[in-house]
Amino acid sequence: MSDKGNTPGGIPENMPHHLSERLDENLTLIKHLFAFPDNTALIIRNLRVPALDAEAAIVFLEGAAEPKLIESTILEPLLAKPSLPYQQPDKLEAVLREIVTSPSGKKLVELQVLPGELLKGNTIFLLEGEAGALTLETPGFQSRSVTEPQVEHVLKGPKEAFIESAAVNRSLIRKQLKERQLVSETISIGQRSAKDISLLYIKDLADPELVTEMKKRLKAINADTIANLSILEQYIEDRPYSLIPSALLTERPDRACSFLMEGHIVLIMDNSPTAMVVPVTFWALFHTPEDQYLRWAYGNFIRVVRILAVFVALLTPSIYISVSTFHEEMIPTDLLLAIGATRERVPFPALIEVLVMEIAFELVREAAVRIPSIIGPTIGIVGALILGQAAVEANLVSPILVIIVALTGISSFTIPEISFNFAVRILRFIMLFAASFMGFFGISLVMTCVITYMVSFKSFGVPFLSPLSPHYRSSKDLIVRPPVWKQWLRPFNIRSQDSQRKNKPEGGD
């Protein structure tokens, strides 16, 4: 907040707003702003430009700008060019247009924007006698190279993933989407340390109202700084306390592109190895790119397996509790006797049994994420052998329960999206309590409320279960999908400006 006497650019209010004509004054101001000489990252290189016969200085931040680039595109031309009559009357313009060779740069006169430029990795060029400066692009931030996705694997399909550099991520999208109307807007947010957010959308596809709404929400953010997209998601979502997410983070450029082509908005930011997609529906959380890459029959097969897995992960423990405590008649007699025999030696009610195992499983799961990868294999031994086998032998739980918890666990791993995965896992416990309290009566009531909640939930104005309910026209790519050539309609619920991907094919419906 600006109550510390800082302007939005982070400049103390008592400092001048504009650069001075005197080089040493400007340098003193910059030194003051960057706490020089304590801060040794600020590098000032004084030089004399023979071409203009004037004292000058270039300023950059170590680690932010690339010294080799500065040397080749700024220093060398400045020092080497002879004194000629230049076309531009303004000296700074002359330097920018006729001397330096860096690909982009601009003139600035306000002191306010100067620190931001340095922090972005740009180099500042100051000239004696000029009340202005040049900012020249020389980014030198380190980032890793493009690798395979860590979370969203596919067997068939592209294997590139986003990395922590926004420029690389934008390039990965451009590479896949050769689209003239693909717009990349930049919005700066954060009061103290401003961060750039790229807003990508296809101008003649995305709903203009959605784009306006998105920009409004971004500008309304009141924060010191936004570290990355995961934090940003929590600032702009529709319902912060809801189990259902309003946005989707994907690490796959191909996925981001397919959403762009449907009229969604994609957000990209430095330090986020993901792209954020809004708005989202249940289907976006449930689908994987592989469903489309595989041939029709195989793609639908894995879809059916996954929707089954969602219900198994959500309901198996609660159905077991219901059936074994309220509706025993459902189990065939032989099996009932077998279960009864194994449960005979277990002293706890079924709910405690299930809770113990479910919590143990969640512990194993959380531990597997946090454990240093070098001692990772121990999790398997402890989890499988001790918790599974030994718990049964010690008569803490019955063997059938181990099967149920394992089945639930395996099923929950098939849910591809992290937020949705958590939603299902948390909801499972709610279902568990409802089932142990009232059996199927409890499950049905809670389930109805959950369905009602899901249909009334909206992400950026788009109903969560649309285009299924409420019904909109679409290519019917919901639980199962039609063959790719039949998917000629963009889903109408996203309100894309052009509803057809192509002309209606022969035999398409």
Binding site: G439, F441, T448, Q497
Partner: protein, 362 residues
């Protein structure tokens, strides 16, 4: 450019809502009531009742045709003036309240008898109505969407139920086809018109629909399918149980789910059917509670009615708790059915003549 969703329901959502709300009557005491009056031919009565209600419904639609965005309540005020409209509106409200309260009590009785004998009736009632309130409170649009999501599963399970009891079905039980005789059947059909009283009552929802055309299509499909469904299931009950035993059966649908089996091993599926039936029940009563609040607020000329949903849920439950046992409930329901039948059949004609009269006077 497409318009943003404007909070109104379309054909699909409303059809689904009707299929669940009205179709659920096949699973409560309605068939039992029909057995008493229609005997062996009880299954014809729903079709006749539907036929009887078509006439006033058509008249009502004709009156609403020239008045877009207007529903039943607006028509009441138009025909009977401020006070008269309010009076008729409140009377409709009262009928709906009584039938919803006693209807919900019936459902809680069913839950209590068929599955949860040891749980206090009040506790079951409270839980059911809590869920009903949650669903109703989210609005008409949401109820319709919920219905549209669940309706395929419900209808598939209903079809499966028939498949699973197919072995026990004996169609010869349906003969002699005319049952107690045609004149009696026709009279009873007219008397039980209020099985489809929703055809009149739900015209109040027209302002919540996208347009009248969608409302009409959904109504014809929805009510038509429900008439066939209720008639069909009533026929199945008779075909499975035969006539005199069917009459003594309190909850034929729930008995049927007990009879359903897949092969030799899986012979008890009633809990599965119970789970799906319960989802429908919640949607069913959510619609009625919503309708109550809506009718009441509109009758008194109030703009917002959402805050009334909670008090009406509570009131429904309080009234539903009054009767001591289910046979009392059935008596009241039977009486309401008769009284409201006349009311629903006559209402459109009364409104029509009142509007005519006003035109003559002015």
């Amino acid at each position: 450019m497409l318009s943003r969703s404007n909070g109104k329901s379309g054909t699909r959502e409303y059809t689904a809502l009707l299929l669940l709300t009205v179709g659920l009557k096949l699973s409560d005491t309605t068939p039992s009531i029909l057995f008493k009056s229609g005997k062996i031919a009880a299954w014809v009565i729903p079709l006749l009742a539907f036929g009887v209600m078509v006439v006033p419904f058509l008249l009502l639609l004709a009156m609403l045709k020239s008045r877009p965005e207007k529903g039943l309540t607006d028509l009441l005020f138009l025909a009977a003036g401020r006070w008269g409209g309010m009076l008729i509106g409140l009377a409709l409200c009262l009928v709906t309240l009584v039938s919803t309260a006693f209807g919900s009590r019936t459902y809680v009785d069913i839950i209590n008898t068929m599955g949860y004998q040891r749980t206090p009736l009040f506790a079951l009632y409270l839980m059911l109505m809590a869920a009903v309130f949650y669903v109703a409170n989210r609005g008409f649009e949401t109820i319709g969407r919920t219905a549209w999501i669940v309706v395929p599963y419900i209808e598939v399970f209903l079809a499966l139920l028939v498949v699973f009891v197919w072995y026990d079905v004996e169609w010869q039980h349906l003969f002699p086809a005319a049952g107690p005789g045609l004149p009696i059947l026709l009279r009873e059909g007219a008397n039980h018109g209020s099985i489809f009283g929703e055809m009149i009552l739900f015209t109040a929802f027209i302002p919540l629909m996208r347009n009248l055309q969608e409302f009409k299509i959904a109504s014809w499909i929805g009510f038509g399918a429900c008439a066939v469904k209720i008639a069909g299931m009533t026929a199945v009950y008779i075909a499975v149980y035969d006539f005199p035993p069917a009459e003594n059966m309190a909850y034929p649908f729930q008995q049927l789910t007990r009879a359903a089996s897949i092969g030799q091993i899986i012979s008890h599926l009633e809990s599965v059917f119970f789970a799906f039936w319960l989802i429908t029940t919640v949607v069913h009563f959510a619609v009625y509670v919503y309708l109550l609040a809506f009718l009441f607020a509109r009758s008194l000329g109030l703009d917002t009615f959402e805050p009334l949903i909670l008090p009406f849920t509570g009131l429904t439950m309080l009234i539903g708790m009054v009767p001591e046992n289910s046979s009392r409930v059935n008596q009241v329901l039977d009486t309401t059915l008769h009284v409201s039948t006349y009311m629903f059949i006559l209402l459109p004609f009364v409104l029509w003549s009142m509007i005519r009269l006003r035109r003559l006077v002015h």
